[in-house]
Symmetry: C2
Subunit: 160 residues, 2 copies
DNA sequence: TCTTTTTATGTAGTTGACTACGCAAATGTA
DNA sequence: TACATTTGCGTAGTCAACTACATAAAAAGA
């Protein structure tokens, strides 16, 4: 690894880009991991699996709110999971606009295997972050930037 | 903001997703910021501007290494900057494979204005992260995950 | 010198997120 | 009850990164 990282030299100006680089890199590694293990699931599906397992069936919008994603993203992810046979979908009897998603029998069958992988992944991250208060930092980031975003903060500074 | 974030409940398992959510959100805000300010540049161009200003003309691959991006990404970004008139490109006289990029006169003219915006953005981030040792944490993350990646760490744990 | 390997660039195709918009059902209001 | 507004879902289009592959020039080696 060359010690030649210009973005790092940029201080706080490079912060968002470094955040993106790392999360992109980890996402790509996750994809390769599943393919190496010959497991036919994708990164991020785990959130849906975990959510529905822990809270039971939810509608598209409920899922989007629970995981703080835009609903079209949820539709995209869950459609692929349905195609792969991991989810079932049915109309809400009380509100025909809603579509309620739940884990399929296939999910229940496969989850123990997948959870081994997720646990290993979690342990790997945990060990890498040992001693750093990374979870606190990211919570603080969320508090700051989900409330008053990057744009608002910049405009505030520009006015001075 | 609802206090209903399932990803947060997932502990270290949700870490990479939270990283991605935040960096995505900041990127989108950056894009909106430029459009609000009626400035015809895009997020991430600033790295190229800053790099070429500080280190002078560089080839595509040199840029990619300096900012740790894949070279096709650099080509994509710099092509757009060229179309917008901010970069000039010429063949290296000693090595005709190389294409050397440099700031145009338009860049030099506009940079003072843009730097005001970037300084404000940097200040905003700095204030938001005040008291948190965020830069140290992200350096640690880079050291850990650029060297032995997420995949390797997970496989290591799986074997136990 | 001729051939093979490496390097630099470019193109194509994939991915995962987003916003904007449209439609239909439910809810609120006059 | 009729109309207007809100809500839930879906589609279309955009964007930024990536990998894999192709091509041409330079460098290395037989």
């Amino acid at each position: 690894m060359e010690n030649n990282d210009f973005v790092k030299e940029l201080g706080y100006l490079g912060f968002t880009m470094r955040l993106k680089r790392i999360s992109d890199a980890m996402m790509h590694e996750g994809r390769r991991l599943y393919s190496d293990l010959d497991v036919d699931i994708e990164p991020n599906w785990y959130v849906i699996f975990k959510l529905l397992k822990s809270r039971g069936a939810q509608s598209v919008t409920e899922i989007a709110e629970s995981i703080r994603m835009a609903h079209p993203s949820v539709i995209h992810i869950t459609n692929k999971m349905m195609d792969a046979g991991y989810l079932i979908s049915e109309k809400d009897p009380n509100d025909s606009r809603k579509r309620v998603l739940d884990l399929s029998a296939r999910s229940v069958k496969m989850l123990p295997e997948y959870e081994k992988i997720w646990n290993a992944g979690e342990k790997g991250v945990e060990l890498a972050l040992e001693g750093l208060n990374a979870l606190e930092i990211i919570s603080a980031l969320e508090d700051k930037f989900f409330n008053k975003g990057f744009k608002a903060r910049t405009l505030e500074q520009l006015k001075k």
